[in-house]
Assembly symmetry: C3
Homo-oligomer: 138 residues x 3
């Protein structure tokens, strides 16, 4: 058993979902761990992580529209130091995920057929997002 | 330290919550790991995982009704290839959980008194759902 | 590789967010694990876990107000054995998190600059909350 750490840098160009499934798998391939888990951890509070249907972009657009309505930018927030997407970003992050742990069997993440891993960016501006990967196993 | 993988198949008969606490504990008993963690990972994007109060079925009915209102089937979704429960299923999945990691001490999951583990099915139709378990420890 | 278990007891004085970042780091320091992960697991169904912006208290007040509106106490719930905060507590827990796994590198959790770890209490009354920590690594 061992622990490998690695990092993904994701260039997010404003609000939306950005698939990182292949990038995570490549890091697992590089580590050589065949049997264990990968923990994906987003090091931010204004973007988050989600697994999502990866075949139909329309499903992701519905998801993004849902969050625009559920946590609208034009509601009456107290915290808006960084603009109208400030508190909404944190709340959308809380409603989704920061860490996911995914099993690795025979060197491959055990994702279902339609599961993709996505960075969910909640800020309007572009950001280079840091995702920590911890690969544990043998 | 070692890693054991196992799988649960859960026959879900339409929307609702299905308790899997005992089934997960049985897989831990079988693995013989006394001290570590179990990672529970749902391999789907139209059902999810949640911990929930396991004594009062009324609490679960309130939860299910809440999600019917928060993410209604009759909203105006772009993605409905598989019916009116298509985009709602994915959004409900995103709002809940896909993976949970639970400590194992002396061979038992360290759940609180009222915590049960549930598959949260978001589809109307019956499905046999696949849940991957990774038991890590000694 | 080894597994250490520990526990945090958090005195929550009613609804709100309570930061536990330093307390978790102290347990990691005590364990001596330099390289691995910590899994934080809340053993309750009426409070939960969240990562959140830890510098601006206004951001946390916006978060708390958002949940008061999204899952109001005065909606028509079937389950209210323990008062008007009964079903709302469980639903707010489901919408947030019960477990988080955070990488440890060189003895430190790899949190981003603004990330704090918080217990999110959903009950009006005071409770002493139990959080299980599992530190895995070398």
């Amino acid at each position: 058993m061992r622990v490998d750490h690695d990092e993904l840098l994701v260039p997010a160009k404003g609000k939306g979902t950005y698939e990182i499934t292949n990038e995570v798998q490549e890091k697992i391939d590089k580590s050589g761990v065949r049997n264990g888990t990968v923990t994906i951890f987003v090091r931010h509070t204004s973007c988050s992580l989600t697994l999502m249907e990866n075949a139909a972009p329309a499903a992701r657009r519905d998801l993004e529209r849902f969050f625009e309505k559920l946590v609208p930018e034009d509601a009456d927030y107290e915290h808006d130091d960084e603009g109208s997407d400030d508190s909404t970003s944190h709340i959308r992050m809380v409603l989704t995920r920061t860490s996911e742990t995914i099993p690795i069997v025979d060197g491959k993440m055990q994702l279902g057929t339609w599961q993709g891993i996505f960075l969910f960016e909640h800020r309007r501006a572009s950001h280079r997002r840091r995702i920590q990967l911890t690969i544990m196993g043998e």
